[in-house]
Amino acid sequence: MSIATTSSKLIGRQAPRWLPLLIGLCALILGAALSALIGFSIGLWAVFAGLIFVIAGPVVVGMLEGSRKGKDAFARYLIYGAFLLALIPLVSVIWVVLGRGVPGLSGNLLGTSMNGVSGVTDNEAAQGGPAYGGAYHAIVGTVMITFWATLMSVPIGLLTAVFLTEYSDSNRAFRWMGRVITFLVDVMTGIPSIVAGLFAVALFVQVLGDPSARFGFIASIALSVLMIPTVVRNTEEMLKIVPNELREASYALGVRKWRTITKVVIPTAMSGISSGVTLAIARVIGETAPILVTAGFVASINFNAFSGWMTTLPTFIYYQIMNPTSPTNPQVSEDRAWASALILIILVMILNLAARLIAKIFAPKTGR
């Protein structure tokens, strides 16, 4: 860089390093002025300032350093801009959920169901009375439905991944089968969640012969359709990176293949597998549409996934917004919805974090 300051014939003219700052400052001032002409707001100001910076910056750089450098600067600003643009909704969502959710968080919300809470109680709450009703039944439903879904998807997903990595190369028929399964797992990843829900309902309606069959386990079936491909994919990746030397060492000691897999390969990949499973749970725990069509909606607590309707946190949020308990005072229901949204986000974030921690802490020790 020091060479650049002294004028050399080998190096073209370079814009001073403080130039973007200067242009940025000018863009901010001009943007404020322009937005004031229409009617000032922070958003408008940001839009104008950003536009001016992205257009004027490259033009100035282009005049100083040549058009190639100008184009480079234009692309760079656009790419940085894309990144900032992507952050806006994320920050906004988290901000809004925190801002509206935190006031509604209470022991009431976590510990009681909506049983017996009617429009009358909500109207009283809006008048300043105590706010009753909570999301306990929804938390119970979420846990039960996700539990059954996990119980079904993990063995199937794990064993399928074992087949794909350990067995699909052993003969021609298996190789063909492996290719078909890999392809179908890809296809399964793309099934829309609501279609998975409709499938589960159609299946149970057909099997039980009852067109109004709705209970928690149907939702679990729908969720496992969504969960299995994620589990297969993550586990496959993890099994693939288990070093072949470990398998060969085991075979050399006369250990059979299935013992090698269950005692050497899977334990080695265990941290990655459990992290993948946790991520899969995090993915399905926030699903709304499949629950909506499979598990019904109920205000009371139900621990039994095999009979009776069930509510989960996402469907609870959905119904509290779409059909407020008291149509005249929807505010009370909305408070409950946002507080539940906060619980749901915290749940998902904890699962994501746990997945990363599991992967890190329980990773096989490589050093001797």
């Binding site: 190639r68 184009k71 480079d72 692309a75 760079r76 790419i79 940085y80 801009g81 894309a82 990144f83 992507a86 952050l87 906004s92 969502v93 809004v96 959920v97 997903g157 064993l159 074992v162 087949f163 067995y167 298996f174 078909v180 399964i181 890809d186 296809v187 990843t189 793309g190 099934i191 829309p192 969640s193 609501i194 279609v195 409709l198 499938f199 159609a202 067109p211 299995i228 085991s250 000691l253 006369g254 059979r256 293949k257 013992r259 005692k263 050497v264 926030g286 549409a289 909506l292 069509v293 996402p314 959905y318 917004i321 909305e334 946002w338 949204a341 749901l344 998902v348 974030m349 994501n352």
Partner: protein
Amino acid sequence: MSHSSSTVPEFSTPTGDQPGQGDENSDHRREGHVAIGDAKGGPAQDRVFAGVTLVAGAIILVVLAAVAFFLTWQASPIFGAASSEVTGGKGFLSYIWPLVVGTLIASVIALLLATPVGIGVALYISHYAPPRFAKGVGYVIDLLAAIPSVIFGAWGASVLAPKIVPFYDWLSGILGFLPIFEGPPTATGKTILTAGIVLAIMILPIITAMCREIFAQTPVLQQEAALGLGATRWEMVRMTVFPFARAGIISSVMLALGRAMGETMAVTLVLSGGPFNPSLIQSGNQTVASEIALNFPEAYGLRLNELIAAGLVLFVITLVVNLLARLVISRYKEFSGANS
């Protein structure tokens, strides 16, 4: 190492049974004995375990077949029903086409918005951000994917929709002569364009995640050669990264399209739907997924079959889109050799 001691005797002495393994196993073991001389055949337990994993894989086949089968089975009454019995009274086709068009409109809007931003963010992570910083940025974008769709829907309906109304007013003022921006815009902001914007936010992480992986696979030698010849960073990206990643970008966009078409809650909460309406900034239009979610809980009788048939249509459309995307990806992998 510890387990080897317990398994080795199994080969040599059938009498050296471990406790807990029944007679059934010793039968297999005799079979296994024969197999030891034969290098190809494995012991029976091995075969059982291989069989179990094969069955697990086969379950996936069965599940997909069952999805297609049961959806078709439950949808079939609608295809034989009199057209007056279908919602709208004009037969299933005229019921479904506005929904399919609505789905396409919403997902195309989402793609148009998300693709440039997604590629930009992916480039930022792979080629522009300081390396130490890039991993954290990738994690932050992944967070966007972790937020449940119902929360995006609630956010879109209560935060984005009211805020975007002035923009729609401005849009209809300037571009009102175009049928898609025909005024007067709705006062609530709950339009298909808003739904498309929310969908764009939701599919952004998909595009970003896939693109950044492919961008990062660009051969380093090519990049360094471009820079060494005096290319600016953007010229390097254009000359080495984009040609390498073109197929990958296309397939990531198509995967995102599949996701956008199947996404339900964001649209259900954000859009106040209705019949087909060419104007994007007025209420109206509806997507297949959202129509199902809104009406299924109260549906009974033939309406139930009708909505399942709508689900079948959605399934087929997303299937085709995803298959095309996979086709592009698989070709790409062969060409690049990146995964070999």
